[in-house]
Amino acid sequence: MTEQDERSLAEFIKGSDGWLCSDGPLHHSIVSSRARIARNLGHIPFAPRARGEQLKTVLERVDEAVGSSSFFSDFQRLSISDTNSLHRLFLKESHLLSAEFEQGGEHRVIYISPDYRVSIMINEEDHLRMQCLDVGSQLRKVLAIIKEVEAELGRRIPFARHRRFGYLTACPTNVGTGLRLSVMMHLPGLVLVNRIEEILQGVAQYGLTVRGMYGEHSEHLGDYFQVSNEVTLGKSEEEIVEVLESVAKQVVDHEMKARDALFEQRPVVVKDLISRALSVLQHAFIMDSAEALSHLSKIRLGIDRGHFRPLGHAELSRLMVEVQPAHLQFTTGGQIPVEARDSRRAAMLQRRLGHISYN
């Protein structure tokens, strides 16, 4: 790769969280929505079992399909082997690239739309993993967009489908619709009133799973919870959307009641909590990402009531991404060791929040 290419790649990757800057419905509690569809080509082994030349065949067929459609003409194609670990971590922090792709690997490509909302991963666990993201609660919109992407590719590539099991996937947990719909929820209120476990158990009864910000081992990080459907077989896409939409709305109602209750019943305690969080963010010289996320999460409670104007929900969501390791290193000049990162993070937060006061 030439130096020029590397600069272009870095520039492209930097823009990948731009979609978070806008406001979206219910943004005070639903940070983003995502629709992901898994599809495979018939007979060619699924990616975990395929040999190199078989993965190459899949890639060629998808490249041909994408190349022959004007729908994808402005999409950027990134070969994973041309990226480094920092690029991949950045894209993962922007939710465009999966943990599986973050590992790297041969014959793996990601196509990304110009607005960074749609990504198509080739040779992940399935031959094709297509996803659409958007800010706030927009499940129907992201589903509609990803169905268009699927239809456009499906006209050119015959997806493996079974008369009994529906669309076929490497793991039977995805078979049927191959559709995973999810919302990223921010629930600091429920965490603070100690009702989060009860709510999450309630959510599970609807056949939904709850994970942390980046999957199973990141529960409670920044009080972010990713709620998605568990079942993909025997349910229509409409049923999946309806259940997730309605449960998410109920959880938002509970969250807002918890936030209101905190301010009504323990106003001084809550103000103290939020004020301390802001003070630490404004004055610390060393800050790791977990601590930053924890403090930023408290700030969300104050934004609802306009306490931190001009800081709004979109800006806060953006900050919660920017304090993460790859984002921090990208925006402050490149790969740096952990200790130096923690002081850079603190310095960035001072700059971005220094002018904010609790009013």
Partner: protein
């Protein structure tokens, strides 16, 4: 329906009792019932007097014996089947059990009958046909829980009906009385659930799915009365019969 929150198969109330039954050929299946229906369907569960410790232990030992037998049968069956491989990619069923990742699209055909257990655990369903509107929760529960559901050819159920049907004297080109449509099978399914023959209900449920999958995608209308034609199975096999039967007995071949 999530098996973490099972509902009574006869009414919609939360289930309080799970009964494991062993049906034909040693296949094990579960039945979920509320207190009331458990006691009416299985009177030995009636709580007249708390059982003595000895009675409890005897009952538990009997159950454990039956469950252990079934588990051993299942384990034996699984061991025997682990030698099965996919005709396309060569993945061994035993290897799939370790990773829960299939090798290619053909694995779903190669291991079709073996995947039901995992699919039921993961999704509470064993196939993707979305439920027909109006399908009852009991029917859904039977489909989800009847581990003995075996793909029984429709002909077995038809034969049982034909044995009870009046002698056919009409012209052979008219829809025979013993022919069964999806609606007929659903009626039989409800009857089976009502008389608590859950094993038969599971077999009928499978047959419903088979017949539904054979319904032509484009609606075909009856030439005589313009009502929709539906797939039926009769003595001669599959055909399209008028949905206005018995008022209209038009039929035509199923292509």
């Amino acid at each position: 329906m999530s098996v973490d929150n099972p509902k009574c198969m006869k009414c919609d109330r939360p289930a309080t009792t799970k009964i494991t039954k062993i049906g034909k050929e040693g296949k094990v299946f579960d039945i979920y019932l509320c207190d009331e229906h458990a006691q009416t369907s299985f009177p030995y569960l009636k709580k007249t007097q708390p059982p003595s410790l000895v009675e409890l232990l005897q009952h538990l030992l009997k159950q454990q014996g039956a469950v252990a037998e079934a588990a051993a049968a299942a384990a034996g069956a699984e061991e025997e089947l682990s030698g099965r491989t996919c005709a396309n990619c060569g993945l061994d069923y035993g290897a799939y059990r370790k990773t829960l990742l299939l090798g290619c699209s053909d694995c779903y055909d190669s291991f079709e009958d073996l995947l039901s257990h995992d699919l039921r655990k993961m999704h509470g369903a064993i196939s993707h046909a979305p439920e027909e509107e109006g399908a009852t929760r009991a029917e859904t529960a039977v489909a989800a829980d009847a581990e003995s559901a075996v793909k029984v050819p429709l002909v077995e159920i038809i034969n049982e009906t034909e044995a009870a049907a009046p002698v056919q004297t009409d012209d052979a080109v008219k829809s025979p009385d013993s022919a069964l449509s999806v609606a007929d099978l659903r009626r039989k399914l409800r009857e089976a659930i009502d008389r608590e023959d859950f094993e038969q209900a599971a077999r009928i449920r499978d047959s419903v799915r088979v017949l539904e999958s054979l319904q032509p995608k484009e609606e075909i209308r009856c030439k005589a009365c313009n009502a929709p034609m539906v797939v039926k199975h009769g003595p001669g096999g599959l055909f399209l019969g008028c949905s206005a039967y018995p008022q209209c007995r038009e039929m035509r071949p199923l292509e």
